[in-house]
């Protein structure tokens, strides 16, 4: 094996095996695009049905509601949120699964398990915290928390997949911080974070890795 091309092949094998065993590379850019579209559609529904078409979040919006009205509204918001979440996450999993099959990569590997754990810890923490804010009617804290915890999850997950996810995470955290500074614009920033950023990064990743 004293052949130059053999050594080159060695290096190629080493690179490929190192990358495939330490990073989950079947994340689909299209999943990001669809998740973004679903988020925008969900936000539009919320604005139309729950906020009488007003986009700015006012502090006094919920004050003149009777307890019954408020409870109905909260249940409706919760149902809409769960539907959006299930649609977006389900579609992402399905598209990534398809992508993995197409590329011949196994889905359930030590690295995909680590990716899931690193996503789930901050997401579950944020999810429970937001549920508490929701029950306490701390409306202004909900949108910044969603964006910031989601961003933290992506920053942590970036180690186990494409680097772009790390930067998407930073962008989500920044959006969340801005939402905390100007809570009245929460819905717009939520659309920017979960809608536009997802679509933008999805397109970038699709062009980079799937074409």
């Amino acid at each position: 094996m004293d052949n130059h091309s053999d050594y080159l092949e060695d290096i190629r094998v080493i690179k490929k095996v190192m990358e495939e065993s330490s990073r989950f590379l079947s994340l689909s850019g299209l999943a990001g695009v669809f998740a973004g579209i679903i988020a925008l559609a969900g936000a539009a529904l919320a604005v139309i049905f729950f906020m009488n078409g007003k986009i700015l979040l006012r502090n006094d919006f919920f004050l003149d509601m009777s307890p019954e009205e408020l409870l109905t509204l909260k249940i409706n918001i919760l149902i809409l949120a769960v539907v959006i979440l299930v649609l977006a996450v389900g579609l992402s999993f399905w598209l990534s699964y398809r992508n993995a099959v197409k590329k011949g990569i196994k889905i359930w590997t030590p690295v995909s398990k680590r990716l899931l754990v690193s996503l789930l810890v901050p997401l579950a923490t944020g999810g429970f915290l937001i549920l508490i804010f929701f029950m306490q009617n701390n409306w202004q804290l909900i949108i910044p928390s969603m964006l910031i915890f989601y961003g933290l999850a992506l920053v942590g997950a970036g180690k186990f997949t494409y680097n772009d996810i790390f930067y998407l995470g930073l962008a989500e955290i920044t959006t969340g911080m801005i939402a905390a500074l100007i809570p009245a614009y929460g819905i717009i920033l939520w659309c920017a974070g979960f809608g536009l950023l997802h679509i933008l990064y999805g397109l970038i990743m699709y062009r980079k890795y799937e074409r």
């Binding site: 130059h4 060695d10 094998v13 095996v17 065993s21 590997t109 690295v111």
Partner: protein, 98 residues
Amino acid sequence: MKIDISGLSRLFENRIRLGIMSILLVNDSYDFNSLKAALGVTDGNLASHLKALEENGLVRSEKKFIARKPNTSYSATEKGEKIFRTHLKALETIIRNK
């Protein structure tokens, strides 16, 4: 174990061993079945190469039970990492100089 002047180790002339060491260099530990899937090799083939690496002190194994099924996980020893890095550097030098 033979290491020639250039730093290449004869142990890594086999691509499966090369693959095993590559995986163990970037992961703290990796279990037998995942190694098998990642490298696309048979049980017996993988086991014999792991054994050779372990006997030479490049790899250490730890037997665990997950849901009552035996599951051996492998990691690179300090010596293994050093020899593999030297081997890698030697490969790169050879390619650059030709």
